[in-house]
């Protein structure tokens, strides 16, 4: 396991089961990893929450949740999972969910940092 993978594991990712989803093809995982981090859904979710568009925000969050789960990034998964549930039940306003979104993005930043660190 290379350093990047080791660091992912330390951040809570079950590397073994995740990589098996990618047929143990590390390069393919990395390709998807960078693609995921640049997915425009992250920024869109922020805009939708700001615009109080709960339904669209739910769809976007839902999409991100599936993608993050597939990438095995559980620390981010916890944040997005909470957002999805909150948006599904619609018991809290979008404004109230903004802190949750920011936490998600802060968590994402940690993963973004790895791209430069390991020249992915």
């Amino acid at each position: 396991m290379d350093d990047f993978m080791k660091e992912l594991e330390q951040m809570g990712c079950n590397v073994q089961s995740t990589l098996s989803r990618f047929l143990d093809d590390r390069d393919f995982y990395v390709e998807c990893y960078t693609e995921m981090l640049t997915d425009e859904g992250f920024a869109r979710l922020g805009r939708e929450l700001q615009a109080e568009n709960m339904e669209e925000a739910f769809k976007t969050a839902h999409m991100l949740k599936g993608m993050i789960a597939n990438m095995g990034l559980e620390s981010m998964g916890t944040h997005i999972g909470k957002l999805v549930e909150a948006l599904r039940t619609q018991q809290r306003s979008c404004a109230e969910l903004m802190p949750g979104y920011e936490e998600l993005m802060a968590e994402k930043a940690k993963y973004d940092a790895l791209v430069g660190k390991y020249s992915l």
Binding site: L23, D39, K59, G66, N70
Partner: protein
């Protein structure tokens, strides 16, 4: 299918799509697209090559539920299994997807082995079902084939052997299907069969039933008695068939066998329903018939006639009778018509009305006609060469004879063999031959006429006469049956029509023979109308050839 099976991945999220494609490409050829609309387009184009669909539910443009719904309604797509990709904590949407027709689901994050196994299960299950379908179904209509149908019927009858339930076996068919196939081509014929199958399904929609297509246009229906009202069923289906875009009306018949003894072989039940349907094939007034004793009786008679016809010809049970024709003006004998009689050793005199239609159906009529032609030529030859006296004799040329190759040469050889001039042999054709294949008939008649034979049109006005026919066919003589006047409504009006026909025939230089003349008053009327010849009981009944020869020898003739 050769090589790897093909899978369609539908997901709006590129990374998810990538993962799925990567996971599956080892075992499948994978196509992918990013929304429901694209997916449907692809499915419609090449759905028959796709073994399964992996479908995300939440997508822009068209979501997964909508895709499922559309696929479910389209019979060509509903067979494709769909594996819905959901998220682990969403039982509600999984259930909804299943209700919309999804076959199974997998949740994100994907577990490679679980996903692959579920997918393979779905595909194999579907392929197994399809294999059974191929064995059980008629590929054109997707109705049961005969074997599967009989098997299902047998099971139902067996299961209900001790119950009070009564069932019907019905045979549904398109009477003029062969004609439609011939006229519009088999592709159109196939379309019609598919349409008929849909009509049957629609009309029987609220009942429990089995339908099969057993061959060509023959459909079988098995249903519990009382579930349909036969009259209503025929009305509804005929009405729906009118919607089929064709210039020709689609005529259908239903034969019904009420299953009284469930132990009878299912195959035999099918036969009985078909037989009942066939019994009214030529009957325009009836659209359905039950299998009962009269149908059996009729069939038995037909079978007996068929069984005995060869013997009858070998043992000279058939005899040629002659009915003289007279010149109306001079009341002198001018000709005769050869009529066949069957004198059965046990049953005695058989009615031509009974056996001729059977022979026309089974093709034996040609052999019988040839017998009459030969016998007639022999008689003509005998009169001419022994007594030096002769009148022309007309013989029947059946519809089927027209298709006999080298018919003209056959007649030439025959008259040569007996050393008689062709003019003594008049050939009677019926107008129905014209409606069947006018071109062929015109060609045959012209060639016979060129060879010197005289052509008579028998029974003019009894069927679908067309004035076209009169101008197109090079005939010499028109035969009018007195039934023409007697049988139909307004006698005076009919006389008017007859007079008009005679006048027209004269204009066309055709001679007229009136048949079935029974009274002096008719003779006078015909004379007044300008009719030349007459034949009928008033003058003479058909008689054996010996009697006719005597009459011929002792009579003054209207011809030389």
């Amino acid at each position: 299918m050769e090589g790897k099976r093909q899978i369609l991945v539908v997901d709006d999220q590129a990374v998810n799509r990538k993962i799925l494609c990567k996971m599956l490409q080892e075992n499948y050829r994978v196509m992918s697209c990013s929304n429901g609309e694209e997916a449907l387009e692809l499915l419609k184009k090449s759905g028959d090559q796709i073994s399964a669909v992996l479908l995300d539910i939440m997508m822009p443009v068209m979501d997964g539920y909508e895709v499922l719904e559309i696929m479910h309604k389209d019979s060509s797509l509903s067979r494709i299994p769909v594996l819905v990709t959901s998220q682990s904590d969403e039982e509600e949407s999984e259930l909804k997807a299943l209700n919309f027709g999804a076959s199974d689901f997998v949740s994100k994050p994907y577990k490679k082995d679980v996903l692959k196994k579920r997918l393979l299960n779905l595909i194999e299950r579907r392929e197994a079902t399809e294999a059974v379908d191929v064995l059980e179904r008629d590929p054109l209509t997707n109705l049961y084939n005969k074997q599967a149908f009989c098997h299902k019927v047998h099971s139902v009858l067996h299961r209900n052997a001790n119950s009070d339930k009564r069932y019907l076996m019905a045979a549904f068919d398109v009477v003029n299907f062969k004609l439609i196939n011939d006229t519009y081509g088999t592709a159109e014929g196939d379309n019609l069969l598919k349409f008929v199958s849909d009509v049957l399904k629609r009309v029987l929609a609220d009942t429990k039933h089995y339908i099969a297509r057993v061959y060509a246009d023959q459909f079988l229906i098995f249903i519990q008695q009382g579930q349909i009202h036969v009259n209503e069923f025929m009305e509804k289906s005929s009405k729906l068939l009118l919607e089929y875009p064709l210039d020709m009306k689609v005529n259908v018949k239903l034969g019904i066998y009420e299953i009284t003894d469930p132990k009878v072989a299912v195959n035999a039940m099918c036969d009985r329903a078909v037989i009942a349907g066939n019994s009214i094939k030529d009957n325009f007034d009836r659209s359905y018939a039950y299998y009962d004793d009269s149908v059996i009786e009729k069939l038995l008679v037909e079978k007996q006639i068929t069984d005995e016809m060869e013997t009858a010809i070998a043992e000279s049970q058939f005899q040629v009778y002659l009915q003289p024709k007279f010149d109306i003006a001079t009341r002198k004998m001018a000709g005769a018509e050869a009529l066949v009689r069957w004198i059965h050793p046990e049953k005695g005199f058989m009615s031509p009305g009974d056996f001729i239609p059977v022979f026309e159906k089974n093709g034996f009529i040609t052999e019988l006609d040839m017998f009459v032609w030969e016998r007639t030529c022999a008689l003509l030859s005998e009169w001419l060469h022994k007594y030096g006296k002769c009148v022309p004799v007309s013989v029947n040329v059946s519809r089927k004879d027209i298709y006999k190759p080298h018919l003209t040469q056959y007649f030439k050889d025959l008259t040569a063999k007996y050393d008689i001039e062709p003019k003594y042999l008049h050939l009677e054709i019926t107008e129905s031959a014209y409606t069947e294949n006018s071109e062929q008939l015109i060609a045959v008649i012209s060639s016979l006429k060129d060879a010197g034979f005289e052509i008579e049109m028998d029974d003019f006005g009894s069927g679908y006469s067309s004035l076209n026919m009169l101008s197109e066919l090079p005939i010499d003589i028109l035969k009018l049956d007195m039934k023409f006047i007697n049988n139909r409504g307004d006698k005076e009006k009919n006389q008017g029509i007859m007079r008009a026909i005679i006048t027209m025939a004269k204009e066309m230089e055709l001679r007229i023979v009136a048949e079935g003349v029974e009274e002096e008053s008719q003779v006078n009327m015909l004379h007044g109308m300008g009719c030349d010849l007459a034949q009928g009981y008033f003058f003479a009944k058909p008689m054996p050839s010996d009697n006719f020869r005597e009459l011929l020898v002792t009579s003054e003739l209207a011809v030389d």
